[in-house]
Amino acid sequence: MASYIAKRLFAAIPVLLGLSMIVFLIMAMIPGDPATAILGSYATPENVERLNRSLGLDKALPQQYLAWLGNLLHGDFGRSYALNRPVLDEVLERFSATLILAGTALILCTVFGLLAGIVSAVRQFGWVDRVVTFFVLIGISIPSFFLGLLLILLFAVQLRILPASGMYAIYGGGDLADLLKHLLLPAVTLAVVATGVVARLTRTAMLEVLRQDFIRTARAKGLSERKVIYRHALKAAMVSVVPVIGLQAGFVLGGAVYIETVFQWPGIGAMLVKAISTRDLLLVQGGVLFVAAAYVFVNLIADIVQAVLDPRLKT
């Protein structure tokens, strides 16, 4: 197992390099003078020239990339001109808020998606299955930013039981209960689409597995139907569901952009939107790199979990 994990970790390195290359190339596509684009059109010529030199823009593209990568590895993500502080500091601060939100959403979608998928496969064509299918359809079709607004209208405006925005109350908040109260609506909103996808796939995977020969063998052994479904079928189905949960991490991390804007959650998504409208490109670059790396990491974990479940994958 240890050697498998080591192998997967090594395999992640080229992926991370590739990500950094794509981000670098996208940033290199900026029309016109990058330094002006970064500093804005009101920057003094001296500042533009200084930035050009510090970005190494007088050199060839591959050399520029290597220098840029070297800086990243030293923790130098550049400086946000709008916030006037190092990009890394801002990103790290924001990232923890996003992790709380996205992590909760990922847990919610895993738990409820699996439950709904299993129940609707087991009770195929029953009323539970119909209800689940109906909600899955709505869940994967409703824009999350619209759902967020609807939930705010219902729970914050009409019922007045949950806060509409922010991560902590401004006065007297700050403890865990306060955080949970603020977290509930955005996390649920963020989880809805992913829950639908997980439920749908779990249902299909379970139905597929239940037709396999080894399920017939389990029944021929005289196992109870409970054991057949929750031990034999579920374990086999999980092998194909786990990578899908890994993919949902991407959905949740990306979708955080909308949810953080709607609920004014102080995370990286809201930061990115603001940074784009202020053309604070180094901040955008740092944020995108961080979230993408987190996504690679989650998928790495999904790979390892899958290999733990399925010994055939380890070799």
Partner: protein
């Protein structure tokens, strides 16, 4: 329509698309979605000629009029603009952008996929690595990065959404193209001197089109949603131009005072996306039935039993280890039922080995599985007859009672142990589980018992092997595990369904010897299903020959072998090749003329 033809077949005629259309319209949900989408599209197209207010004319006197106001059916927004007019025009913009993005992504993605798949080799490798890299990004994030560079704007949002969707098309198209580029009709075109471009456009593209359509129909909903999302964030449509997303984004500021201004465009996006998604699912199902999730139905724990009348077992039946009386098993197909086992009867005496022989499709395996209700249901239904074990009719028992027979008094051994053993549990766990299903014994005890059983079936180093997974064992060892599992609870009867068919000849002989030895030591009754008279001659006391779901001949093995009555039996016997008799063997395997050979079942 076969999926084979769809995936890699030669070009098709238009009859097929007509079938697909009918399939789509038969799907009620997809048909409803189709009409909704068509209605919305027509509304968007007719926006310039509909009697609407100008969507951009502000009217400070008429700010925030409620729903159903005179002249403003859906009210007005914070600048006094007519919400209905803005909704229709906004829908037009959203649809236009979403569809354009989908077309662009489909075009460029398919182009990349075609080139990569057709070129193969290093070019393919390089392109697909790049595509994988793009897919390693959270999708929306990549779109954001692109908008960040290009700057906010509707057109830039369109580019961004198109670019992030290119990988989906490239991947799917590349996979199919890769398979096609090695097919005979492509080789033929190449040999006839056609250029690469001609081959790609005339030979490969027509076969790849269904996949492009499927991918487009399943991603276009997302693309509409994501462009609306970018506009919602203020990165897409810029004022005064409005799409549904930016209407929603601007309405958000008035959420508490005038919620309808954001709810209305939100509902519209929802309707469009749901309609497109449902329609997309319908298109996918119609074009590629293999992917239809609903087609899978889960098999029940016990085969459905619908016997109009239950035969009373006679004295012989009650005295036998196992008696099957007038068993009839059918499969539901389309609207009707096809009978696979047609009222057969036989008995298995205590300690006896009965061979049930026939070719594939003769109904012998279905018979074996019917005994304890293991025929997959749906589609299987037991429509008649009785199965008597210990004087009781098993098929009248309830689910838990039948389960207590399974692996207890009666154990099964199946054909291909690679698919019949659970791939994710060690063989030790699987044998121990069989023990614990019927005996009150703790985990450790069950494990020890499992190791003991593995030793009984002559698996070398059983302590070690118990920790192995099925894929780590050889075929013969896997079948020994299957036998160990069957022996777990000292059964009286073992039903072996072609236990040696998947094995090579020397291993087959070893497994047969093992079964024989176990039978003698434990006084087991063995029902042995096979298509091989050689095997029957070796181990069976009696034999019953099955054909088209009926027993055509039965008797002592020596008698049947020495003096076969039915021509089918003669043929089966002659099928055992004897060195030096090549010509006779070939005669034997020639099809037997029969009234019902054309039924597609059996011969």
């Amino acid at each position: 329509m076969s999926t084979q033809a769809l995936e890699v077949g030669p070009p098709k005629d238009s009859g097929q698309s007509r079938t697909a259309w009918r399939l789509l319209m038969n799907n009620r949900l997809a048909a409803a979605a189709f009409y909704i989408v068509v209605l919305i599209v027509i509304m968007a197209l007719m926006a310039p000629i509909l009697p609407l207010h100008d969507p951009d004319t502000t009217s400070p006197a008429n700010r925030l009029l409620p729903l159903f106001s005179e002249g403003h059916l859906l009210g007005t927004d914070h600048l006094g603009r007519d919400v209905l007019a803005r909704l229709v025009w906004g829908t037009r913009v959203s649809l236009f952008v979403g569809i354009s993005a989908a077309l662009a992504a489909a075009f460029f993605g398919s182009l990349i996929g075609l080139v990569a798949g057709y070129a193969g080799g290093r070019a393919d490798n390089l392109i697909m690595r790049g595509i994988d890299m793009l897919m390693a990004f959270p999708y929306i994030l990549l779109a954001l990065a692109i908008v960040a560079v290009l700057g906010p704007g509707l057109l830039n949002a369109l580019y961004a959404i198109a670019i992030v969707n290119i990988p989906f098309f490239a991947r799917n198209v590349r996979g199919i193209t890769r398979g096609l580029s090695h097919r005979e009709f492509v080789d033929a075109a190449r040999l006839s001197g056609k250029s690469h471009i001609a081959i790609l456009t005339t030979e490969i593209l027509p076969n790849v089109l269904p996949i492009i359509v499927i991918t487009m129909s399943t991603t276009i909903g997302w693309m509409i949603l994501e462009t609306a999302g970018l506009s919602f964030l203020g990165l897409g449509a810029q004022p005064p131009q409005a799409d549904l997303g930016s209407m929603l984004g601007q309405g958000r500021a008035l959420l508490f005072t005038a919620p309808m201004i954001s709810v209305i465009p939100g509902v519209m996006v929802f309707l469009i996306v749901m309609g497109v998604n449902l329609l997309g699912d319908g298109v996918r199902d119609a074009l590629d039935p293999r992917l239809r999730a609903g087609a899978l139905s889960r098999p029940m724990p016990v085969t459905r039993i619908e016997r109009p009348h239950v035969p009373e077992p006679d004295e012989t039946a009650k005295a036998s280890a196992l008696a099957v009386t007038g068993l009839e098993t059918s499969f539901e197909q389309g609207g009707g039922r096809e009978v696979a086992v047609k009222g057969i009867s036989f008995t298995l005496r205590k300690g006896e080995c009965l061979g049930l022989i026939g070719e594939s499709g003769s109904g012998k395996s279905v018979t074996a599985l019917s005994i304890l209700g293991l025929v997959a249901s749906p589609p299987g239904v037991i429509t008649g007859g009785a199965v008597t074990i210990e004087g009781r009719d098993v098929l009248s028992l309830d689910e838990t009672q039948i389960a207590s027979f399974r692996g207890g008094k009666v154990a099964y051994i199946f054909q291909d142990p690679l698919t019949t053993l659970h791939p994710l549990f060690t063989v030790g766990e699987q044998v121990a589980e069989a023990v614990r299903a019927h005996q009150p014994i703790d985990r450790v005890g069950a494990h020890e018992k499992a190791v003991e059983l593995l030793r009984t079936v002559q698996i070398p180093d059983p302590e070690q092997r118990a920790r192995a997974y099925p894929h780590e064992l050889s075929g013969g060892q896997r079948q020994r595990v299957g036998i160990a599992m069957a022996l777990a609870n000292d059964p009286d009867i073992i039903i072996a369904d072609e236990p040696t068919t998947a094995l090579d000849v020397t291993v087959q002989a070893e497994i047969l010897r093992l079964l024989q030895a176990l039978r003698r030591d434990r006084g087991l009754a063995l029902l042995f299903i096979t298509h091989d008279f050689g095997v029957v001659a070796e181990i069976c006391d009696r034999v019953a020959v099955m054909r088209h779901g009926e027993i055509v001949e039965a008797g002592e093995t020596a008698t049947v072998l020495g003096d076969p009555k039915h021509p089918y039996t003669k043929r089966l016997i002659a099928c055992v090749p004897i060195p030096g008799q090549g010509r006779a063997f070939l005669d034997a395997i020639r099809a037997l003329p029969s009234a019902d050979t054309d039924r597609g079942r059996g011969a």
